[in-house]
Symmetry: D3
Subunit: 332 residues, 6 copies
């Protein structure tokens, strides 16, 4: 049995007590942290791996998104791994919590290379495992996708992005910040602009020049208004059906600020006029169900700005809905 002594991983900072006699676990009793010795509780048969990336120093605006991985681990205690409407029990999925990618206090570049390396090494060791990353700010998506590409250089990767923003700002001004990841991926040749589908853009939160750049590089930016014409679910299905023709792997990135600020107050850059919770939850079911969606991240959630944990709960709900989609792939 392998151990996972990845040098760039810290173990989960705390673990819930697991009552061995419990027959019907709650989410915190079902998702297994790695063993203390670095081995997996499922040997190598891990279906899904959760990685925390507690980095928000690279956020343009002040953000405590670095506290999100722990906020997730606390919040999922309030969830049951059984989805009533779908009549799906998630517990057959072997989900392991690998802890957090190691971060440095003052060297963001080191943080970023740890993230890239974590994903690359992860793909190499556990190619059958679907990684879910809990950010962190959006800068990490560039690193995660680059890490994936490093492990699978011949794969063509597409991106399904749920976001209020393009995240296409110029790198020369911001560096690898949370406003630039998609541009970073395009300009580094990791993926093509036309393989990016961004759903949820609206209003006054992207400059004209970003729109121009997006059009030039072929990014498929679907505004919320457009998406609602046929419905957000159908729009997601459409984007997936377009992507699946072109790419080997679809990477799903969920920026929590795609949601309306009144539904998701805990985001650094959230704004009114965004997506409704129910639209997001449905989108996650659909995306999780697509066989080419092989990795996912959730970013830009600031638990300190949250009100009554509603944004954290929504994000956990979104992740679990995604897993319902995943488990139904087999059944489909």
């Amino acid at each position: 049995m392998k151990t996972f002594p990845y040098p760039m991983l810290n173990p989960p900072p705390f673990r819930w007590h697991r009552d061995e006699k419990v027959t019907e676990p709650k989410v915190h009793e079902w998702i297994h942290p790695l063993n203390i010795d670095g081995t997996s509780p499922f040997a190598d048969d891990i279906d899904v791996a959760i990685l925390g990336v507690p980095l928000s120093r690279s956020s343009i605006s002040s953000s405590a998104a670095s506290e999100t991985p722990d906020a997730f681990r606390r919040a999922w205690r309030s969830f049951n791994p059984y989805h009533l409407e779908e009549e799906i029990d998630l517990t057959p999925l072997r989900v392991a919590d690998f802890g957090d990618v190691r971060q440095h206090v003052t060297d963001i570049s080191q943080c970023h290379s740890n993230i890239r390396e974590a994903m690359a090494s992860f793909r190499k060791h556990l190619p059958q495992t679907l990684p879910i990353t809990i950010g962190g700010d959006h800068s990490i998506t560039a690193m995660l996708v680059q890490g994936w590409k490093e492990a699978h250089p011949s794969e063509r990767i597409g991106l399904l992005q749920l976001d209020t923003h393009y995240d296409l700002r110029p790198l020369e001004e911001f560096g690898p910040a949370n406003g630039t990841p998609i541009r970073n991926l395009i300009e580094s040749g990791t993926l093509r602009g036309s393989d990016v589908w961004n759903i949820g853009l609206h209003g006054f939160f992207n400059s004209r020049s970003l729109k121009k750049y997006a059009d030039q590089v072929g990014v498929n930016g679907i505004t919320l208004k457009e998406a609602r014409k046929k419905g957000v679910p159908a729009t997601i299905r459409h984007a997936l059906s377009q992507l699946e023709k072109e790419v080997d792997t679809i990477y799903l990135t969920l920026d929590m600020d795609v949601l309306d600020l009144s539904s998701a107050p805990g985001t650094p850059a959230g704004m009114p006029g965004g997506m409704r919770t129910e639209e997001l939850l449905e989108a996650m079911l659909i995306a999780g169900n697509h066989p080419k969606v092989k990795a996912m991240d959730i970013v830009c959630l600031d638990p300190r700005k949250d009100v009554g944990s509603v944004t954290v709960f929504t994000a956990v709900y979104a992740m679990l809905n995604f897993l319902v989609g995943v488990i139904k792939r087999g059944a489909a």
Copy 2:
């Protein structure tokens, strides 16, 4: 004229000043507390009675739902008893506030028997009066329905429940807590599982075994997704039309956590992905209008968790919409 010296009732803890010259009262000037001497301001001709049940010691999670009856009495000062859209003036309804069922600090069993007895005695003395109970946590519903059954042993009672949860957890583990009332009612023979319609269930907040139990005992669990297919209002109408064929009395229980957490932050177990306020308000109009709906409660509202009183205001609005339905019964 009767007095109402029910030994298990405390008078309302405070009363608003009523300006006798006011011709167009606000809600707090229209709903009459009992007189100081225990007599009713309407003699025995009381259409609707409001009972507070300030009990939340029986809540699984920490809850200040015991403060809700008083929060209601403060909040209804912000409402006018005239419903603009329906062009309905509620003031012809004689509504009396009977105060609160007496609670004990350390003896939950005594609290529960007071609640049961209050409802039973209430039904015996005032059989023409529709009781509306302001909880408290959901444990009280079991007591209220049992009290009703005690007064009307031959009646078959159905339940219309608006809830994110089944509330069917095993009694042997929790006792008569806020997670068990419906099971309590079924297992005590107070009502049949198939006479329960629960609308609003969703996501990851009920275990697989509860779903299994619900199916075994025939509970009609309608998820929010299903309900939205034809619309929440039509779903409510359907449930009522099914219930009316079977039962003598329909008891409506509204657990405020049926609402989306971002709309109703003041609930101990609220979650994202729930019902929208407008769906609930419409549901209450419909339920209030059905002639077999003879009692109603509102539970699991925690005013301390609330943000800007939005949950309390929504609950008062829901109660008043219910009364609009009631007053329109005559007109129908």
Copy 3:
């Protein structure tokens, strides 16, 4: 070049640094405060003027709406003057911030006459400029429309009001408060009741006698439920098409409490059951696009009650959407 030494105006209390090298300004770099010497940065060619009216002493309930003009000036820094969905760049519009109408601490009547006079003098000096007023409480609308009327005595003015309330309370009881402006306008002969379209009324927040009065004077009160039957956008279009037949000028007044309290917690009298943010934003696009809509105000926003600035952001978004409508008038 004119200067604008209106004696009743204070300059904007602060001004953002404007980097002259920036080619793609943010909203706070695009909207120009008047120059220190009272001249306009655009000479007399001002398309849109923004006036703050920091008055909330005239509010029935306690309100910090007097802090809204400054809250706007801070919040618009988070917006880009490019509307992605409409592909509209607002920067060709010459928008000047004229600062705030001077208020008195203890003489509300003086405050009101300053507001009236500011609008009248404004119309006389800059008849080509569309004024947008940031309140303040709703009492100011009566003053603003009267000021307009004073400058254009022969014009017939219509009112498009988005509000949960009629604001038709009797003047003899309240004086020119935030509950009475529309009655004030009708009874002073400034406009006809039948030229008022109020969209968004709902529930228990207007008395029966107000409804009766509204009907008597012919106010067109469209409840939210009615509006949603064909959709809020279509309802707005209908109201505009009716108004345009009758009046010369349509004045748009947006009371932020028209929104659902959970979407807009920062209003003194907001209630659940109101309009959704997306409905409002769409309405503003439509209203801004109508050539007869020549003035607009936003009132009854209390930034101190706000949660995470969501209400302030929504109001700024609404104002900018209105301007998108305005700039598209030319194109249409």
Copy 4:
């Protein structure tokens, strides 16, 4: 038995239920609202009268001090009328709650004349009764003292003020606002500058010109630093001993912003560096015990800014400590 149909008084907006069997009342069961018919529960033998003045339209900064009288009536339910350290039972004092002075929504001048007239009429009808006024903002103090003077034109009145500010701003700029009451009293000849003792001034919250004016008119401004040299209690005693030589009546006015902002967050203009709660509470015991202190007010408390009601509780505690001083006068 007299009735008190003062045309400028509204009855208390709500009254607590009083259980006649209770032998040891809480504060809310001891302080009697006037009877519904306007008679006093104690006939004319009223020791202390409480008047609410829900006015904060005259506040320079935005304030919800108008909500303080009701906040007091709710908060005193958490107090027992027995002072443990002093072993004093307050219940022998006959304390009546006279309700609130009637206010107008838009006519501050009318509000102010109601306040003045209420105090004058009050003094004429009930000269043996000590009035305690719960504001409202500090503008009301000028009106209350002028009302007193109107009833007792030959009395020389002194002022003991606990405040971070002089409240001596020029009337011609602000009118009778909360920054000007003491200047108002001096310039109207109601009292002499040298009969004002203001204790608690500190730091950067009064302009140089105010200090100059204060010195010119002889106001005794004792800074907190000076007061602490011998202790706040001794300083209060000193001020009283100086005042008693000169004046017939000492009026005590407590501006809650004299307290440190971290102890009293619920004040519109509170600042760090102020008085500690324990210093204030001791001061109130001393002031209440002086036989020439014949009236008192508490102003500038904004319950909406409060955190966990700490400022409201402190103010109620201060008022009750004052009454302990009053009841000990007899014993002394």
Copy 5:
């Protein structure tokens, strides 16, 4: 080696990751939860045991004190086990976290008997270990002291109580609630009134009859004002020196509402005018250092009411200061 399969204990709900290579642990790495198999990490040589008692159903006012044990376990991560001023390293103390006493949702009597039994069984198995209990509400103190008495029937027990309240309310009215524990202990003969020293009483928060009862049974009630005359530390020393002459064991109970509400907002019944944090911290050092102080609890802390965790941090600080006193006993 013993195991500790106490049937009435649940293990700590979560455990922090412990990096075995760390040479200088933080508090959460130093305090050891019991091993999964119920054995102690220190075999039987446990100096201090921490027990959580997550019970607040027995609180008179609504309280989330049941969440305090977990709040402690999260908060102590922010502390270092080295006390700088005392130059004391706590890590030589073997401190084990035994988890929480099992509670029942609806049977408070069962909860209480579990607590009593836990302490009794604890004393029998581990007589050398000093137990520190984290409540929960104050009702648990009666149970804990009775459990101690059951294990050591011949011991005379004294109580050092830091509290704003007597907690001597009549049992027949409230049952074993958080207002009655000391009366419960006296009337059950567990301890004598004259062996109770309560320090911190003040103001208007105890009725006259409680004071009378306290005097009758000889409780030593030291008000805060008295205590400050010689200083709180000296008063604590005095109380200990009086107690040590009479009793075998001194039980320390800290009700967090002894603190001023502005310092400790997270208490259900806190009030202004209470103890300062620095006074409490000094008191804990002294009490911990007394050889007869053999058990301690901290109660009535409501983490949901807390502001920025200040009350939780203060309570953890108090507990650690107590342990500094304990470790210095040996040195003395």
Copy 6:
């Protein structure tokens, strides 16, 4: 006249309107931002320069201290430049706001070198000007002092630090973060350990090894308990009198977490048991008055965590008190 086109400075992001007719300015009208063209409003005769350093990416715990410079500029509008107790008018001091040191989103090292260079260049151009820096987190102090040293290589610099923490953590682990600045300064040879006086240390917030290191390098760590023995003011005087014998320049660094958390909730690492506001304010007066104190910074204030702006107001108050000390130097 010089201009100040320091390439690493951004101008203040906003400027208050300055009414030229005002004879008695408020603080925001007295402190002058640089002119738009980079010249100083006072030519080269600047007494005090304010520099913002909006950097908190280098903070160990999540912090929005980067928002503090702007929070200062907003908050000082609530202050008057006249200190009542000291009878000192600050307006003769020529204070210029130089704006903010330019920061990079993802390159902390670049941020730090900008800060260092800004101070060095500043000292070279304006050697007569006293710089006050508003952080930012504590990492900036290392850069600022190194910048000073670069400009004045032969000066011996001492540090007067007000802090709960040593900030002596090892650089190899954290890099130049907010836990390491003093160690950075010592190990880089910028200053000697024995020239550091740190006042305010307490409790459990520094590890044993840090204490050991501090002792080894001779840092003078004065705990709060020690400081209070003769009083904080006398302790400050003592430290200054020791430092003045050894060093040429004393640099004052104020970490806001030196204050008790209940007085200063807006700090990332604040704890109970800290300094009282009044102690800090007095300390600032004294430090400002010492002729060798030639530079000052205020760090680790997180305005997002603040409650009612109390921490921001306290920090502005502290800065102004420091300036009162400065202006009194001449007089002394």
